[in-house]
Amino acid sequence: MTRVRLIKDRISGKLFLAFTLLSILLVVFVGIGLYGKSVPILRQSSLSHLLFSREWKPFKNRFGFLPYIAGSVLVTGLAILIALPLSLMTAVFISEYVPNRIKRLLVPFIDLLSGIPPVIYGVWGVLTIVPFIQDRIAPHFVEFSSGYSALAGGLVLAVMIFPLIISILLEVFGTVPQELRDASLSLGANQWETVYRVVLRKSAPGILAATVLAVSRALGETIAVLMVCGNQTAFPHSVLDPVYPLPALIANNYGDMMSIPLYDSALMLAALILFVIILLFNGLSRVVLYRLERRNNE
C-alpha cells in the first residue's frame, strides 16, 4: 500500500513537470514556427527595410511593415490612454466608496461585459462610434473623414479592455489589507488621501500588471478593430486617419492573394512581429514590476 502511494506521488510530480514543460515549449514552438515561415522574406529583404519602410507593394516584392506596426501601436496606445484612467477611477470607486451590498451587484455586471464576443463590440463600433466620429468629431479637425479611423479602433478597444482592467484592479485593491486603510484613516487622513497615498501606492505593481495584460490583449485584438479602423495601408498622421493594424492585415489577407510570391511569408512575418512586440513588452514590464516590488516591499 505504501509503495503504491509512493509511486503515485513520484509519477504525479513527473506528470505535472511534463505538462508544464509542454506549455512552455508551446510558446517556443510558435516562435520557431513563425520564424521558419518568415525566413523566405527575411532572405529577400533586410530586417531594417522590413520594419522601417513604408512601402507596401506586394506585386513588386516590396514589403514595408511600418504602416501596420504604427497602426497597431497607435490603436493600442489610444485604447490604453482612454481606458486606463477611466477604469482606474471606476475600480477605485467600486472598491473604496461603494457599500459591499452594491459591490456584489456591480462586479458580476462588469465580468459580464468582458464576456461579450468581440464581433458585437465591432458591430456596435460600426453603428455608433464610426458615425459619431464622422459627424461630430472629425469635422472640427479635418475636411473629410469616413469615421473609420485609428480613433474609432481605439475607442472600441478601450471599451473592450475596460472591464478587463477593472476586474483585475478590483482584485488588486482587494489584496490591500483593510488595516492599512484603517491605519491611514486613524491618523486623520480622509478617504481620498487614503486612496491616493496608500491604496494606489500599495497597488502600483498590480496596476502596472493590469496595464500590461490590457496592452497585450489590445495588441492582439483582431475582429472588432478590423471592423472600424478603415484598413488602409498608409502611415497614419493623425488619429482620424484610417489605419491597418497587424492582426487585421493577417486576418484580412491570409488565404487570399497567395499567388503572389512571398506574400504568405510576409504575413507570417507580420505575425512574428506581433509576437515579438508582445513578448518584449511583457518582458520589459516584468523588469519594471520587479523593481517596483522591491522598492515597495522587501
Partner: protein, 254 residues
C-alpha cells in the same frame, strides 16, 4: 464606576453587525491619563468596543450603532462631527503592525504632512523626536529612506506607534498590540505604554491577563457583548465581585 471628568464616556451603546447584537447597553467611563484594559474571551466584543471610539467601525454600512460616545464631552456620533479631526485625537495600534507602503521617514511624516506641515526642517524634527520617543532612532537613523517593511516586526510596531504619536493624539487605542510580537519586543512596547501614560489616555484590548495586570490601572471585563465588571486592576483580577469574572480570571472560561 464613574469618573468626574472621564476622557471617553460611553452611554447606552448598542452595536449590531448584520443580525448580530455585538455590544449590549454599554455604559462606561474611561479615565483621563490612565491605562484601561478591556479583557474577555475572543469574540466577546472588546475589539468592537475599541473601534467604536474612532469611528472606524461604522465605515461598514452593515453596522448599526445606537447610543452615545463622548470624547472630551463631545458626542463623536453627532451630526456635525468632523470625523478626520476626531480620529486624529486617537492613535491606533493594531494586532499586527501595518507600516504604510513607503519609507521609514515618510511613515512618520505621513500624518503631519496631511495636517499641513510642509517645512522640511520641521518634519525632520518631528520624525526624529518620535523615533527617539519610541526608541527607534538609534536603530534606524542611518536608513530613514529605506522601506518600512524592511524593519523587524517589533520595530515595525514601534514605528506604527511613533507614526500615531506624530499627529499629537490625546488617546492611544491598542488592539492586542503585542499579539504578533516576540517576548522582547512585547516588553519594549509595554515599557513604552508605561512611559506614555503620563501624557496620554491609553485603552488596550488584551487577552493576556498578566499583561493587563502589568500595565493597566483599570480593567473592564466583557463577556458576550456586556460589561460584567469594571474596576481598578487589582480589584478585578484578585478579588472579582462577579462569578463570571472569577471564572474567567481563574481560567475556567476563555
Amino acid at each position: 464606576m464613574t469618573f468626574e471628568a472621564p476622557h471617553i464616556r460611553v452611554q447606552d451603546l448598542n452595536v449590531h453587525i448584520g443580525d448580530h447584537h455585538i455590544l449590549k447597553n454599554i455604559s462606561l467611563d474611561i479615565p483621563d491619563k490612565k491605562i484601561t484594559s478591556f479583557i474577555g474571551p475572543s469574540g466577546c466584543g472588546k475589539t468592537t468596543l475599541l473601534k467604536t471610539f474612532n469611528r472606524l467601525l461604522d465605515r461598514n454600512k452593515e453596522v448599526r450603532i445606537g447610543g452615545r460616545v463622548l470624547v472630551d464631552g463631545e458626542d463623536i456620533y453627532g451630526k456635525d462631527v468632523e470625523v478626520t479631526g476626531m480620529r486624529r485625537k486617537m492613535g491606533l495600534l493594531s494586532q499586527r503592525p501595518f507600516p504604510l507602503p513607503m519609507s521609514i521617514y515618510d511613515n512618520i511624516a505621513y500624518g503631519p504632512r496631511i495636517h499641513g506641515t510642509r517645512r522640511k526642517k520641521e518634519l525632520n524634527g518631528t520624525v526624529e523626536h518620535y523615533l527617539r520617543a519610541t526608541g527607534l532612532w538609534e536603530e534606524v537613523k542611518d536608513r530613514l529612506g529605506s522601506p518600512a517593511t524592511r524593519l523587524s516586526i517589533g520595530q515595525q510596531q514601534r514605528l506604527c506607534l511613533a507614526r500615531g504619536l506624530a499627529v499629537e493624539p490625546e488617546i492611544i487605542l491598542g488592539d492586542e498590540p503585542t499579539s504578533a510580537l516576540d517576548p522582547l519586543s512585547t516588553q519594549r512596547i509595554e515599557e513604552l505604554f508605561l512611559q506614555l501614560k503620563d501624557r496620554y489616555t491609553i485603552v488596550l484590548v488584551t487577552h493576556i491577563l498578566r499583561q493587563a495586570r502589568r500595565l493597566s490601572d483599570y480593567i473592564v471585563f466583557i463577556y458576550m457583548g456586556e460589561i460584567i465588571e469594571f474596576g481598578p486592576t487589582e480589584e478585578v483580577l484578585l478579588d472579582p465581585k462577579e462569578r463570571l469574572t472569577r471564572e474567567y480570571v481563574k481560567g475556567y472560561i476563555s
